[in-house]
């Protein structure tokens, strides 16, 4: 007898011909039901492979037909797992395995309907623009960029997606989680009164620690070494606040109805040896919102410390706690606990994406996923420089971390570790 604590409700989708799948401008292949939907996966690591398995489960017509990565070994491993998970829904011919930094272009041109983007985040704006320009629907992992130029690019891409009636679902998975959605519905319907403050924590161990230089294989280029250890370089990763704690930033944004803050101040730095990487290992960001509302985001990736991944939302008549114990709860004048079934939020992202495509009501998460990412980048800017940063400043920042013309050959100008008080805002 299984322990019934978690259930993934199976999404059924409309099977009637009457479901208005026909629409002007709708790619012919998606008219009607159970037509194949061809999926291409860009970035075949753990998350990408997971996303592909969810995409293949989301729709009876889903087929994986193309993959792109810079590592053949990673591709092989991913395809082997997906074959075990999804059987004959995996139909990737050898000629549709694309390798290299430009593989995403070839994948997009190879005959796909939906593109899954799961590479290190530096590449995301480039990949997203290419997919949308080519008329593809997209599942776009978080964060959606590592710098402000990338955020602006994504916002433009999001507008294009809307004009072209393309679906764009963000990998901010908590927005697709039933128990977290219900919690924010409670907040937005006044369960805690007016929000006064939000405290979010993401205190963990290092995610992908940089190996010491002694472990660098002889003969590989700097670019290869960085790509292999992308987490430790902010031009690829965005830093821990943007890569990991961005979930906390997104939940703050969600609570604030995706309206931007006025400004932020932050502390941060690097304590443990960086071994050549340039990311911080701790941040604390203080966001000022209109009406004197404040949000505090603390994150840390250091061994041996207190670990916590929680959200505390303090309101005029109550408080929300997420992440202490198994279920979120509200205390105060309108107490509440989640009593439903938790869902598989990753599966839900894809169920929603594919259903929205079939229904010709494509979801577009593009703008809010960009502003949530910007919230993290802004906090990083404030911590790196030690300065107060306004939203306008951040949105207009000209600092380029990820060079859009990166081809793997030319050296990348990797900034040294930031030093508050010395590093200048750009």
């Amino acid at each position: 007898m299984s322990h019934p604590t978690v259930v993934s409700p199976r999404r059924t989708f409309l099977k009637t011909g009457a479901a208005s799948a026909l629409a002007a401008g709708m790619p012919a292949i998606l008219r009607g039901q159970a037509q194949p939907v061809r999926i291409g996966l860009v970035g075949c690591g753990g998350r990408g492979t997971g996303a592909a398995s969810q995409a293949l489960k989301a729709d009876d017509g889903s087929r994986l037909v193309a993959v792109a990565d810079i590592s053949r070994t990673q591709v092989d491993d991913s395809l082997a797992r997906l074959a075990r998970a999804a059987g004959d829904k995996v139909q990737v011919k050898e000629t549709n395995i694309f390798l290299g930094l430009d593989a995403y272009k070839k994948l997009i041109a190879s005959g796909v309907d939906v593109v899954l983007l799961a590479t290190p985040p530096g590449f995301r704006p480039l990949h997203l623009r290419a997919a949308i320009e080519a008329g593809k629907h997209v599942f776009c992992e978080k964060p959606i960029s590592v710098d402000a130029p990338g955020v602006r690019s994504v916002m433009e891409t999001a507008r294009m997606a809307k004009e072209k009636n393309l679906a764009l679902v963000a990998g901010f998975c908590w927005r697709y989680s039933t128990h977290i959605r219900e919690t924010f519905e409670q907040v937005h319907s006044g369960a805690i009164g007016n929000i006064a403050a939000y405290y979010a924590t993401y205190y963990t161990s290092p995610v992908k620690p940089m190996p010491p230089a002694s472990q660098r294989p002889p003969g590989i280029s700097d670019n290869e070494w960085m790509l292999r250890n992308w987490y430790n370089f902010n031009w690829l990763c965005g830093d821990g606040l943007v890569e990991q704690a961005i979930h906390s930033a997104d939940k703050i944004a969600w609570a604030m109805h995706d309206q931007p803050p006025v400004s932020c101040v932050a502390v941060g730095g690097r304590q443990i040896p960086a071994e050549g990487g340039n990311i911080f290992d701790h941040f604390e960001v203080n966001y000022l919102y209109p009406n004197n509302v404040r949000a505090f985001l603390g994150c840390r990736q250091i061994e041996g410390c207190y670990n916590e991944n929680s959200d505390y939302i303090l309101g005029s008549s109550g408080a929300v706690t997420i992440g202490r114990g198994p279920l979120p709860r509200i205390e105060g004048s309108k107490p509440w606990t989640f009593t439903g079934q938790k869902n598989d939020m990753y599966q839900a992202e894809h169920d929603a994406l594919f259903a929205s495509i079939r229904r010709n009501e494509p979801i577009n998460d593009g703008i809010w996923m960009a502003t949530s990412t910007m919230l993290g980048i802004m906090g990083r800017m404030a911590a790196y420089t030690g300065q107060k940063i306004t939203w306008e400043q951040a949105m207009n920042s000209q600092e380029v971390l990820f060079p859009m013309d990166f081809d793997g050959e030319r050296p990348v100008n990797v900034a040294p570790m930031a030093r508050p008080g010395k590093t200048k805002f750009a």
Binding site: M1, H3, S53, R72, D102, Y203, G304, G408
Partner: protein, 343 residues
């Protein structure tokens, strides 16, 4: 422009892929067995307290006598499931069992070797034992650490903990078999609970849904069973080494001797005892729970972690130490029974 040299990510993948290298693991087990056989054993039939070397963390082991018992539940038992029958006789050899569920204090020494004051290279056999990867999030989910039961570990992780503890102490520890667990839970009784069939008194013996305030409690807050074991019912449910099979009992002979079910598939394995989130009928001595892939629902990766269940806040374990040290091959089988690989 083409990226001239494509990367080989084999090294990146090895942290996750590295479950068991059979040849290496066999060598480790052989070495461990030598260490265990050479170490002094405590007096049979007596409880003992053990400090984990190079730490100030200790645990207590209670003697469980050899004997026979009737495993399973009668059709008349309220709240039972069909997989608990038919009842059948089982004969077991003597062992010690942890008085309490393994705590975070103990388990974190296994998760974090620096906390265990281990120096890499000082003990090659210890170094060869697989340790959990770093968790992405805090696996107690804020419910408490010191003195609280460790949770969220996979069946494989629990097995490796037992192997690690064996290396540290020179004793042979492993997960209990499903039969050993039920035998120890019943503690010589034959009713649904050791105190009888009526669950009214369960609140004195168990942290369960009605009294848990929505989370686990520190270990050892409730009354022991007749053999001194605490929290066999409730608090966290406990891994056993067996693969779950609904037909185990139906296929049992007239007398099973030291039975256990080796795994053929990554799921399911058996967990016993019920948890802080369960009602009384799930806390009966005979109740069986099978592990499920949904216990890793929030794991975003594929492959999912072989060390952590992201959605099993109700699940931990305790260890046993058989009096008789088995062969190295048997030790290998116990410690490597079932790795939850998905897919």
């Amino acid at each position: 422009m083409r990226f001239a040299i494509l990367l080989l990510f084999a090294a990146v993948l090895c942290a996750q892929k590295g479950s068991i290298d059979p040849a290496k693991e066999r060598a480790t087990v052989e070495a461990l067995r030598k260490r265990i056989v050479a170490a002094p054993a405590p007096a049979t039939g007596k409880a003992y307290k053990q400090t984990i070397p190079a730490s100030d963390i200790s645990y207590e082991m209670l003697p469980i006598p050899a004997g026979e018992f009737t495993m399973g539940t009668p059709a008349s038992e309220a709240g039972r499931n069909a997989d608990e029958g038919p009842q059948h006789k089982v004969k077991l050899e003597a062992f010690w069992m942890g008085k309490l569920e393994v705590t975070w204090d103990e388990y974190r020494l296994f998760m974090f070797s620096q906390q265990a004051n281990e120096t890499p290279g000082a003990d090659a056999t210890l170094d060869a034992i697989s340790r959990p990867t770093r968790p992405y999030v805090e696996m107690s989910f804020g419910m408490g650490i010191n003195g609280y039961p460790a949770i969220s570990m996979t069946h494989h992780a629990a097995n490796k903990y037992a192997e690690w503890l064996s290396a540290k102490t020179g004793h042979f520890y492993r997960l209990p078999t499903e039969a050993e667990w039920e035998y120890a839970c019943r503690a010589g009784t034959t009713t649904a609970y050791p105190f009888g069939d009526d669950p009214a008194a369960i609140k004195n013996y168990a942290v369960f849904d009605a009294n848990s305030n929505g989370q686990y409690a520190q270990v050892g807050t409730k009354k022991p069973n007749p053999w001194g074991l605490q929290d066999m019912h409730g608090n966290v449910m406990e891994w056993t080494v067996d693969q779950y099979d609904a037909k185990t009992y139906a296929n049992a002979p007239a007398l099973s001797i030291m039975p256990w079910v080796p795994s053929k598939t990554p799921y399911p394995h058996v967990a016993r005892g019920g948890s802080w989130s369960d009602p009384p009928d799930k806390l009966r001595c005979g109740a069986r729970v099978s592990s499920d892939p949904s216990w890793k629902q929030q794991d975003p990766q594929l492959p999912k972690s072989i060390w952590y269940h992201t959605d099993a806040l109700f699940l931990g374990f305790r260890v046993v130490r058989p009096v008789k040290v088995p062969t190295a091959e048997e030790m290998y089988k116990y410690w490597n029974n079932g790795v939850e690989q998905e897919p």
